[in-house]
Symmetry: C2
Subunit: 88 residues, 2 copies
DNA sequence: TAGTTAATTAGATAATTGTCTAAATAACTA
DNA sequence: TAGTTATTTAGACAATTATCTAATTAACTA
């Protein structure tokens, strides 16, 4: 499984997640939001998928991406743990 | 200001934060927890400092590091936002 | 079936990153 | 003051990363 933290470290990937928040999008629609080639976006999507941050489902000739929140909850709980200082 | 997400992307740096959770530590004590040279740890500490994730205070010949949670709260709120889907 | 569209894979490359050793700085101590 | 200890800075290097172009795969359409 891919590294969630590394996946979140890139601003393009964080923006992709943020776009997917409101509604699912296919790869082309996502790419259109960036000033970047489709293969580059495809690479980012793959990293997000490996980190279990998105799901990909083929629909016809499109691939529709959707947000997966389970892993986000995990790292939020780890962060929340850090903020509860001294309790250890 | 340094990039918080990049700072959190490295496991060594996350472990440093986690160590600082229970109590402040000086650079040498931190370095002793890792199988890595002091300059390497010093570099990691600097990245954490630039990201405002730790504070550094010179005490005699030691430099004592402590956890700063304010930025963590910021990114937690961003993550929490992502998990609240569809509300956009 | 041939052509078009959507997306990914392959391969190259420049930039960034994590680590090291050696040197420098700063503070304490005999 | 000379030596020791703690930490950082400097410089080098290998590995990883983000990006590109070109080629490939898969699905639809006339």
């Amino acid at each position: 499984m891919g590294d969630v933290w590394k996946a979140l470290a890139d601003p393009t990937r964080r923006k992709i997640l943020s776009l997917l928040k409101s509604h699912d999008m296919n790869a082309g629609e996502i790419a259109a939001e960036f000033n970047m080639t489709k293969p580059s976006i495809s690479n980012h999507l793959n990293i997000l998928k490996q980190a279990d941050l998105v799901d990909a489902e083929k629909q016809g000739q499109n691939v529709v991406y959707s947000l997966r929140t389970s892993v986000l909850e995990d790292i939020m709980s780890m962060l929340s743990d850090l903020t509860k200082r001294g309790e250890d």
